[in-house]
Symmetry: C2
Subunit: 126 residues, 2 copies
């Protein structure tokens, strides 16, 4: 009768899973794959600022984790599509909510930062 692991425990594999997903690029990729498969260079264009290396690495990790699938089509030149798996689908709603929380509450965060910095300035300044 072993107790289930939880995210607070060190050693627990959950930590590795969380660590993989708690990554800006991974979240953006998963979010971008919502709805339909996307090709490599399309992802690269859409997710602005991601480098080819990081995109490649992150895709590979997410594929290994079973969150997305990689399909190769023997066109010329070759076409590669990335799509969410069922496992990926089970997470996408949360990821999407999470990613877009940032959009919706960006102003509040920015305002909080200004206030915080003002307080810090007045502490050392006047």
């Amino acid at each position: 009768m072993q107790q289930p692991y939880n995210v607070y425990e060190d050693r627990c594999p959950t930590r590795q899973v969380l660590d993989r997903l708690a990554d800006k690029w991974a979240l953006l990729i998963l979010d971008r794959l919502q709805g339909a498969p996307v090709r490599f260079n399309q992802l690269r264009r859409d997710i602005q600022g991601i480098s080819q290396k990081v995109l490649s690495q992150t895709l590979k990790k997410l594929e290994r984790d079973g969150l997305l699938s990689r399909s190769v089509f023997a066109t010329v030149p070759v076409t590669v599509e990335y799509a969410l798996t069922d496992l990926g689908q089970s997470l996408i709603q949360t990821v999407s909510t999470f990613a877009h929380w940032a959009e919706q509450h960006m102003d509040a965060v920015l305002l909080a930062q200004v206030k915080y910095d003002e307080g810090a300035a007045s502490t050392s300044g006047a």
Copy 2:
């Protein structure tokens, strides 16, 4: 009539917000603060593996972002409590769902990893 930013855009402040939140430790801290305020060393004990430095840094950033508040009580020795703000509350449900998805689907991820690695091994091995 400016279009709203979105997470896919570079330059957008949303990226900074997402980058802040897409962090294993930040998520664990926020999740741990759900329900009631928690003291510094209690967080340190509960979130296994986090160092004092990273805990301190992450708390400060999250406070600056307005997601949590820091309250000092003039006891001896001093007591410091961290609690979610309203802004933090608005995110906690998603964070919690996200963090615990890892717990619930850990087995599936681990299985996917094994299968992926087997495929890679057979590619180079046989």
